[in-house]
């Protein structure tokens, strides 16, 4: 098989699976609950992928990711209810709003490293959560916001579970493609060099602060997109959806899947969202099982389900990546231009 054809086939297979097989199976059962689970899984795939960029690739341990998710969701919900905008407007605006907040957060915290950075993001995440919880005139506080306008795009009503699934799937796949091109490229290599040794990267002429802020903003943007998807598909948001345990859940997805590996983050998200659903018959014990899965995956698979090296190998072989070379010459995709 030629190296040009293979990426097309892989992409086509993923598209058929996500846009063909899954909706067919969901349609066969035709229960709105199953669509909800599928949407939730895709939204968390997007969240895990956005955190993968900043925590896995750029190595900035982020403990407040759910806050950007929340900023996006609240931006979308408020624009949809108070300003009456449709999904076509709220989606990009939610992303931009979350990216703007992410840049504001990044400016003072980017000079911190390791655990100090993690603690700062935890604190800021909690502050944003408190704002959502207590700024009652705007966010309605703990009561949350009901989004009654549904999901309309270019005048079409897409609120039916089946069509909403397609919207979520298309947006998630497009975002994943962007994150894939960012993290498997020279730009991704530069971010990885920050993770390994940012002083060294600085000495090599990379603008480390700018790279960190950029990766943070991009990650915030996609978290905001995920928030808008959640607000429009669930129809109801409340601060509890964006609290610290959610940040930890997203971090757990990235770690279980493999830090620095995009396919790993996707699989980690699917495992941690779908496992509790599969285990629903077990009832009360399912969250204990999730904790146990997290624990044993760290203990037994410290590199994650798909470790970074094998993930890079896989992506390069199957998708090509955005490196200049064809991916066949050894070493042609190393370095930073």
């Amino acid at each position: 098989m030629s190296d040009r054809l293979r990426p097309l086939l892989v992409v086509a297979a993923v598209l058929v699976l996500v846009l063909g097989v899954v909706p067919a199976v969901l349609g066969a059962f035709d229960r709105s609950y199953l669509y909800q689970v599928a949407n939730l899984a895709l939204i968390f795939v997007l969240l895990a992928a956005s955190m993968h960029l900043v925590t896995g690739v750029a190595g900035l341990l982020q403990l407040g990711h759910a806050a950007f998710y929340g900023v996006g969701a609240y931006t979308a919900a408020l624009l949809a209810t108070d300003a009456g905008l449709s999904f076509g407007w709220t989606l990009p605006l939610a992303g931009l709003g979350a990216a703007f907040v992410a840049v504001l957060v990044a400016l003072p915290t980017m000079r911190l490293v390791s655990i100090y950075f993690a603690v700062a993001t935890l604190g800021i995440g909690q502050m944003l959560y408190l704002v959502m919880l207590n700024w009652v005139p705007v966010t309605k506080g703990p009561n949350g916001i009901l989004i009654t306008s549904g999901l309309t795009l270019f005048g079409y009503d897409l609120s039916r579970p089946a069509s909403a699934y397609f919207v979520v799937a298309v947006v998630t796949l497009a975002s994943l493609w962007v994150i894939h091109r960012l993290s498997h490229s020279y730009y991704g290599n530069a971010l990885r060099s920050l993770r390994e040794d940012d002083q060294c990267a600085d000495a090599m002429g990379l603008d480390t602060v700018r790279l960190k802020i950029e990766s943070f903003a991009v990650s915030g943007f996609f978290a905001g997109i995920a928030g808008a998807l959640w607000a429009h598909t669930a129809g109801y948001i409340s601060p509890a959806d964006f609290s610290f345990p959610q940040s930890i859940l997203i971090l757990a997805m990235v770690v279980v899947g493999g830090l620095g590996s995009l396919p790993g983050a996707v699989i980690g998200a699917l495992v941690l969202i779908l496992l509790p659903e599969v285990l629903r018959p077990v009832g009360d014990f399912r969250n204990i099982i999730v904790g146990g899965v997290l624990f044993f995956s760290i203990l037994l698979m410290p590199k994650g389900i798909i470790g970074e090296v094998s993930a890079l190998d896989l992506v390069r072989r199957q998708l090509g990546g955005a490196w200049r070379g064809e991916g066949t010459k050894a070493g042609s995709e190393v370095g930073w231009r």
């Binding site: 408190l130 509890a240 345990p245 146990g292």
Partner: protein, 335 residues
């Protein structure tokens, strides 16, 4: 999350509201009587002492292992529930309850170390002891253990507030001149002071304390001079968790609020105190915990009490930006 994942969505909201229930009486434009300030200072002192007890556990463990123990809040919860079980089963005097809770806390600490930290300490050289991989692995494993513990407690007792026998609540009023405090304030102050004194004694006058200080100053050097670092680490967890568990039952009886996710908010506050104090300085952590307690209780005079948590996070961010080494921290290369 629309019922898909109830345990991940937190019930800590209940704690925040309960924690500051009776405060925040005066709006910004009303004159505030002097007594009220004094009263808030008394409350702030007991709040700060609780944070201090929690922060010491974090600080000790960070000192010896250079990792953050995210399950520390669950030790606090376990302490409170152990106390509640003992109270409802035998109704012993408070001092016995405290002793049992402290013992349970020590056991919980040892168990936590064996399960969440020991398996990841495969090599004993300094580079891997302080490596990022080890730090992230233990951070996640302690989180996983905390999820499992919280869920187990929730299955055992239910997620709502537990009923504490009314006569065991530490809220009988005591008048001190113009100020009225409750017995809980005094008891928390006394117990915390005793435990801090005891900790100082253990650290400075006993062999265990000597080895804890040695390991936290240089783990490899401590090993070279014949200190059993593994045993020292277990001791550290036991001592730190005793303090956390005691704080849990004291707060539980003070506010009458014992529930499975009660450890989360105090855990974060103690974490903030540790960072403000410079990560591995015990006096720093205690002083910062007291500052935190005082500022929160004073803040409730001026702003609605639900915003009081903002004070802690504000302190955290300001500290990290302007005093990145912590107010009492030693010199570090980079933070």
């Amino acid at each position: 999350m629309a019922g898909t994942n109830p345990a991940m969505t937190l019930e800590s909201v209940g704690l925040e509201n309960h924690w500051h229930e009776s405060r925040g009486l005066f709006g910004p434009n009303l004159p505030v009587p002097m007594d009220y300030y004094l009263q808030q200072l008394a409350i702030g002192l007991s709040l700060g002492m609780v944070y201090a007890l929690m922060a010491i556990g974090f600080t000790l463990i960070f000192g010896v292992l250079n990792v953050v123990n995210f399950a520390h809040g669950e030790v606090y919860t376990v302490g409170a529930f152990a106390g509640l079980v003992v109270i409802s089963a035998f109704a012993p005097p408070l001092i016995v309850v405290l002793l049992v809770v402290v013992a349970v806390g020590a056991l919980a600490g040892v168990g936590l170390e064996r399960i969440a930290f020991k398996p990841f300490r495969r090599f004993s050289d300094e580079a891997s002891l302080k490596s990022r991989a080890m730090r992230e692995a233990t951070l996640m494993s302690s989180l996983a253990v905390s999820i499992v513990v919280r869920e187990a407690v929730e299955i055992g007792f239910g997620s709502q507030f537990q009923t504490v026998p009314l006569d065991r609540l530490l809220n009988s009023p005591i008048s001190l001149g113009p100020v009225t405090i409750v017995s809980g304030d005094v008891i928390i102050l006394v117990v915390a002071a005793l435990m801090l004194g005891g900790l100082q004694y253990v650290l400075k006058r006993t062999n265990v304390g000597l080895s804890i200080r040695a390991v936290s100053s240089n783990p490899l050097g401590a090993k070279y001079v014949g200190i059993n670092t593994d045993r020292t680490i277990i001791w550290t967890f036991a001592v730190g968790s005793m303090m956390g568990a005691a704080a849990g039952i004291l707060v539980g009886l003070y506010y009458g609020a014992i529930f499975p996710s009660m450890g989360f908010i105090p855990g974060i506050k103690a974490f903030v105190a540790m960072v403000m104090g410079g990560l591995s300085s015990i006096p720093g952590a205690v002083i910062c915990a007291l500052i935190l307690g005082f500022s929160e209780s004073i803040a409730t005079i001026f702003v609605p009490s639900v915003w009081a948590d903002m004070v802690a996070y504000g302190f955290l961010i300001v500290t990290l930006i302007f005093f990145p080494r912590g107010i009492f921290g030693g010199a570090r290369d980079r933070v």
